[in-house]
């Protein structure tokens, strides 16, 4: 694509687009550094929204990006040249509520924080409500942007329950908010859902298979190191996100490891299809897309062999 070119020395020059880097993104940055060590010139741009990254990927300005799976599937549905190639992090969403809340029925008519329609957290939450709540019982949805803001709203008692990411839950706990419980862990109820994935421009994938393979391999290796010792994640965070609160990071890292969420190679034909089906059920895409349309799992295979 227009954003990628081969330099005179045979090495590549291309761009990776990331969305507001956080804990889950630092292994990607480490993988990028591996490619740089091999002599490739990799630009990392930070964008504000995943849609912007997808647009850039579709045009070929960016080679690789990683964030919410939903926009990528929407783009693929509109024939954008994009393929999912690896996992960023497993389903880390869990529903947190005030201590009085233990089931869906407790939330009937109570304020329930969600993100906008189409966002994965919203889809997960609504999916759960549809399956768990008794007939005619429904929470009172309140739309609030950002997992972090919802965490604040939960802490201040403005909402009774909301889906949160692990890092926000940890931040919430460490800030001393009390009386909160984990109502349901979606990693257990929706193990096939992979809300955050790595995806790439297909032209890049076909023309520079080797480099793409190196990237995925490096990512798998980083994830492996984190699972072996969570302090590796802490070290990565210190290197790439020096401003983060180190104590929270250590706790969060342990949680990720315990939940086995970091595994770039976790994608399979089955769980990719499961993810696609979930988004189709949530109305983000039409039914009928297959793993073959959306993903190229050969890099994962290449990394593990």
């Amino acid at each position: 694509g227009p954003g990628t070119h081969v330099r005179a020395d045979g090495k590549l020059s291309f761009t990776v687009a990331l969305i507001e880097p956080d804990l889950t993104t630092v292994p990607l940055l480490a993988a990028v550094d591996t490619l740089r060590d091999q002599g490739h010139e990799v630009d990392v741009v930070e964008l504000a929204e995943p849609e912007l990254a997808v647009e850039g990927l579709a045009k070929g300005d960016y080679a690789i990006s990683a964030e919410a799976t939903g926009p990528a599937l929407s783009a693929i549905e509109q024939d954008a040249p994009i393929k999912i190639i690896a996992d960023v992090v497993g389903n880390q969403w869990a529903l947190y509520g005030r201590s009085a809340v233990s089931s869906c029925d407790d939330l009937n008519g109570r304020p329930f924080g969600i993100f906008s329609e189409g966002a994965v957290a919203t889809a997960i939450a609504k999916d759960w409500v549809a399956g768990e709540c008794g007939a005619g019982k429904r929470p009172d949805y309140l739309t609030i942007g950002g997992s972090d803001v919802r965490a604040q709203a939960l802490a201040s008692g403005e909402i009774d329950a909301t889906p949160l990411e692990i890092s926000d839950a940890v931040a919430l706990e460490s800030s001393g908010a009390s009386g909160l419980t984990k109502v349901v862990d979606f990693a257990e109820t929706l193990p096939d859902l992979h809300p955050q994935t790595v995806y790439a421009n297909t032209a890049f994938l076909t023309q520079h298979r080797g480099v793409a393979q190196e990237f995925v391999t490096a990512l798998v290796r980083e994830h492996g190191r984190i699972n072996a010792d969570p302090r590796h994640l802490v070290a990565l965070v210190r290197k790439y996100l020096p401003e983060e609160d180190q104590e929270d990071v250590a706790t969060t890292a342990r949680r990720y490891r315990d939940a086995k969420l970091f595994d770039a190679a976790a994608l399979t034909r089955r769980n990719v299809q499961g993810t696609i089906d979930f988004f189709a059920r949530a109305g983000v895409i039409e039914r009928g897309m297959t793993t073959r349309d959306a993903a190229d799992l050969s890099f994962i295979e290449g990394a593990s062999s």
Binding site: A58, P71, S74, A75, Q78, Q152
Partner: protein
């Protein structure tokens, strides 16, 4: 020249003198350029003109749009109402008392230049995510325009009118209601007009960034789903609403300040 030719000439002259041919011309050029660019180089986020028009009419038939309009406009109406209720008296006070004005001027400037988007998180943290923070943000966005224009308007009130009222024994209260308020009305209405524009911006931005409901929520959704035509259909509808409100304000302005036009020749043209 025959009478008929004369008719043709006057008809042509009338067309050249009217405004609509030029409006139409730019609209056609604009639409064509948009459509061509989108066809040639369009991406996922850049719909064609025709697609957008279709999506707009589809949206207008959709109950959800009207619900979103209702939700968003609640904040708009309350927030802008609050901006008027707070801004007009504040503007009059600042216009009337120079000393106060000199000491608060720097804060008005700060309010005018502060990127509000950056403080939305702080606002939400302090006021919460309910209607209150949306209303407050709309107010914060629009109140400066109202204050600044009202202040200017009061300053432009002929001081001899105040003196005249005093000579007939009017106190400060009567001077406000009988002289300053009516005298500043044209400027206040201009401020209200600019304020409405800012209020619409505030309404959408708070929904985009924090409380993802209403029109901002629709934008987020269509953007998240990469449905560009619907995304820009929503934007078109927001712009149309802003223009509608502004022309409404202009109409009210003309009604309320008819007298102002007897005072000026209306500029160079």
């Amino acid at each position: 020249m025959t009478a008929h030719q004369g008719d043709v000439v006057t008809a042509r002259r009338r067309i050249l003198d009217a405004n609509w041919p030029y409006r139409l011309l730019t609209f056609v050029l604009f639409a064509a350029a948009w459509e061509l660019y989108a066809r040639e180089r369009g991406g996922l986020l850049l719909p064609g003109f025709a697609e957008t028009v279709r999506a707009t009419s589809w949206l207008l038939a959709d109950a959800e749009l009207w619900r979103a309009l209702y939700v968003s406009n609640q904040a708009l109406v309350l927030g802008f109402g609050l901006a008027l209720v707070v801004g007009v008296p504040a503007g009059i006070v600042l216009g009337r008392f120079r000393l106060l004005e000199r000491y608060t001027d720097v804060y008005l400037n700060i309010l005018l230049v502060t990127p509000m988007a950056a403080i939305i998180p702080l606002l939400v943290m302090s006021v919460g995510v309910g209607l209150a923070s949306r209303v407050l943000l709309v107010t914060v966005f629009s109140v400066v325009m109202v204050v600044v224009n009202c202040r200017t308007g009061v300053r432009q009130v002929d001081p001899s009118l105040i003196e005249m009222a005093r000579s007939f024994g009017a106190g400060e209260g009567r001077i406000w209601t009988r002289i300053l308020l009516p005298g500043a009305l044209p400027a206040i209405m201009t401020g209200a007009r600019l304020g409405i524009g800012r209020a619409v911006t505030g309404m959408v931005i708070v929904e985009l960034l924090m409380v993802s409901d209403g029109l901002g929520g629709l934008i987020l959704r269509y953007r998240g789903l990469l449905q560009a035509p619907q995304l820009y259909g929503t934007v078109v509808i927001i712009l149309a609403e802003a223009l509608l409100l502004i022309s409404l304000a202009r109409w009210g302005e003309r009604k309320l300040t008819r007298w102002a036009r007897t005072q000026t020749t209306g500029g160079a043209r």
